[in-house]
Assembly symmetry: C2
Homo-oligomer: 411 residues x 2
């Protein structure tokens, strides 16, 4: 067996999908259930139909294209939503290479012992109410109290966005009941980091996926007139946040080198030129592939925040907004992907994924593996996201071989 994907068809699909949600400010803005996403969903269903796959959408808006077969289902895919002003490869390469794999398998009429499905999961990027809405609904691992009726990050409540797509909170909560029994899940994705490019390797095989904690944090001091309040009498909430962020970065670098922290968003209030900030609200993202590091780093950073607050006469508040556990890919699946990569004559590198992926969520119900391909400069979530089509072809052929292995007798 040496069947190969048609990279020309994959490229045509990726470029066609990239037309939905082009943003005049740069890149692609295609949050789930936006008008651009609804159009892209219709386009994707047409592609599935064109490939003679049985198309199904579950109650969370996850879209499946199925090639019927006996036994459990081998699932492969990713997501087609994007961050605002994102790139054209994050997510889309996973869905559209999986589609090509199923097309090729169907064209070759391979006799497989599994059903196959390509999937596009809803809102992987968390533009609405947090990451992984679709794969969490699919696996029945939604966080408690999904805020369906509160304004989502796009402004409109999730329940209204769902209604636009013919869905509802009840259908989201019930989505996991429609799920077929999953034998394994595979996801091809861009690395979103610089390691493959630096190593000159076209393929990364993911061993572990980092877990993360998202916290919403605040320092609360006192708003004062910036023209009349001496520096030493101020309780400046921004300076507390600045101190925490700088010292936190040093703490993570020195004591938790296998961890990362990011303060990605911050706002000050009252928020004018001449008023000492009385309050700084900011986000804190901490990650590690080690559950122990994630826990220790979180504890150390909260202690640091309390220390900064005490020293500066302000108060520190925080609450956990989202969390995922670190995941270890089953060694047998890593080995299978490495064997097939060798068979293709491609160099590969074992990697830890610092970014979260649907595979991390699906791992709760089935063995889940990931194939990375390089992206230029490690850049993603940005208009400048770029790949080499040769790398994608290698990754897609690996995905094809792995799907066939997992769906063959004796697997």
């Amino acid at each position: 067996m040496d069947i190969r994907v048609d990279i020309g068809r994959i490229r045509k699909d990726i470029e066609a999908l990239a037309e939905f949600g082009r943003d005049p400010k740069g890149g692609i803005s295609r949050p789930s259930f936006s008008r651009a996403d609804l159009e892209a969903r219709a386009w994707l269903k047409d592609r599935f139909a064109e490939a003679c796959l049985a198309c199904r959408e579950d109650g969370a808006g996850n879209i499946f294209g199925r090639l019927e077969g006996p036994g459990k289902t081998v699932l492969a895919g990713s997501h087609i939503d994007t961050v605002l002003n994102g790139g054209m490869y994050d997510g889309s390469v996973g869905v559209l290479t999986a589609l090509e794999c199923l097309r090729r398998i169907k064209e070759e009429k391979l006799p497989l012992v599994r059903a196959l499905e390509v999937v596009s999961f809803t809102d992987e990027e968390g533009n609405l109410v947090g990451d992984f809405l679709g794969s969490r609904a699919f696996t029945g691992t939604l966080l408690e109290n999904v805020p369906f009726s509160e304004p989502s990050l796009t402004g409109r409540p999730l329940q209204d966005l769902l209604a636009d797509a013919g869905l509802s909170p009840a259908s989201v909560l019930a989505a996991h009941r429609e799920r077929p029994e999953v034998a394994a899940y595979l996801e091809l994705h861009i690395e979103q980091g610089p390691k493959l490019e630096a190593a000159g390797a076209p393929i990364g095989i993911v061993e572990r996926i980092s877990g993360k904690n998202y916290r919403r944090c605040s320092f609360v001091g006192r708003a004062d007139h910036g023209g009349t309040t001496p520096l030493n009498l101020r309780r400046d909430a921004f300076l507390a946040a600045a101190d925490f962020a700088l010292r936190g970065n040093r703490l993570v670098a020195s004591r938790h080198p296998d961890g990362l922290m990011t303060v990605g968003s911050l706002s000050l209030s009252p928020g004018s030129f001449s008023v000492v900030p009385g309050r700084a609200d900011f986000t804190l993202d901490i990650r590690s592939a080690s559950a122990g590091t994630l826990k220790d780093m979180g504890r150390d950073l909260l202690a640091l925040a309390d220390e900064v607050a005490a020293a500066r006469g302000v108060t520190f508040l925080s609450r956990l907004a989202d969390a995922t556990e670190p995941v270890t890919i089953p060694p047998a699946l890593v080995a299978l992907l490495e064997e097939e990569c060798d068979a293709l004559g491609c160099r590969s590198l074992r990697l830890t994924s610092g970014a979260g992926h649907d595979a991390q969520i699906v791992s709760a119900i089935a063995d889940s593996g990931m194939i990375f391909i390089p992206c230029a400069g490690g850049v993603s979530h940005a208009p400048g996201e770029a790949i080499d089509w040769g790398d994608l072809e290698k990754g897609a052929n690996l995905l094809l071989r792995a799907i066939i292995r997992l769906a063959s007798r004796g697997s």
Copy 2:
């Protein structure tokens, strides 16, 4: 001559004015030309009319109540606009004590050799396009290129807000031509700082008013995925801003102790949990009563920003958004206020005003003096702004005596 103000009438006026623009989120929100301000303006004109003062509004919406007399005009007042969620004394005490002074002078039929006017200046707080729109228009010192047609800080263009008040860009630009010849300007105001309260003095006599530079600044780095980009490879614009703010505060405290700096507003983009900030936009307010310090501190801070940018691999950008020069109150006017304060048997303290005031702007065309009264805890621009009515009575009697002195033969 020992006439006194009626503090009961002043209090009644201040409390009545405070009903316009009560904000459910706390305090008073009465930006110039808001609905609340338009109602407050109508109320103020009624008070002027009730006091039999000739009421006039100039092309910038500055409102005057005139007591006719020979020669140049002695002007006293302040402003009735507030910051969002501000207090009920900032500005209002200056306008309403001046009104009471003119009422008392009229009631006593004092034979004066000057015309007297009470004034309420438009948008002292700079809620629209920058501080002191009204007093700058009055004195003919508007900054170049007032952004009449761009969205103001309230969202609507200034020209639309002006139209709501029957005004226009042309009328603002021409306002200074309607101005009477001003002999002197006096402004009573809350201190907006803690010094009078700490000294137990009911009256502050302002010797100098700080100048300021407002800059809009940015650090531009590179947005990266917060889960995949090692800390040492990041070009985090927020950490640059944090570093600059902390080191800037230390620099000002050590090298420019007669200066102040405030970073009051900051926003990060793209601005999400998991993305390293590629850009930090923030405001920088620097102040000093010394023109030399203002210049040197500005130069040192810009050099520091460049140094931080170079060390962190980011770019620093800034532009001057507004500037006022430090003002020294004429010594003769300070002496006159001190003599009258002594005559009233009140302790006074000479002060520098760290906050800007319309008096600073009016000083371009006439001798301008300021009387401060304490505010509780030094708090202002906040719902908790509070005064002692006894202090205000002393301040108002001082204002009354000073107006009479300035408007008398031989002054």
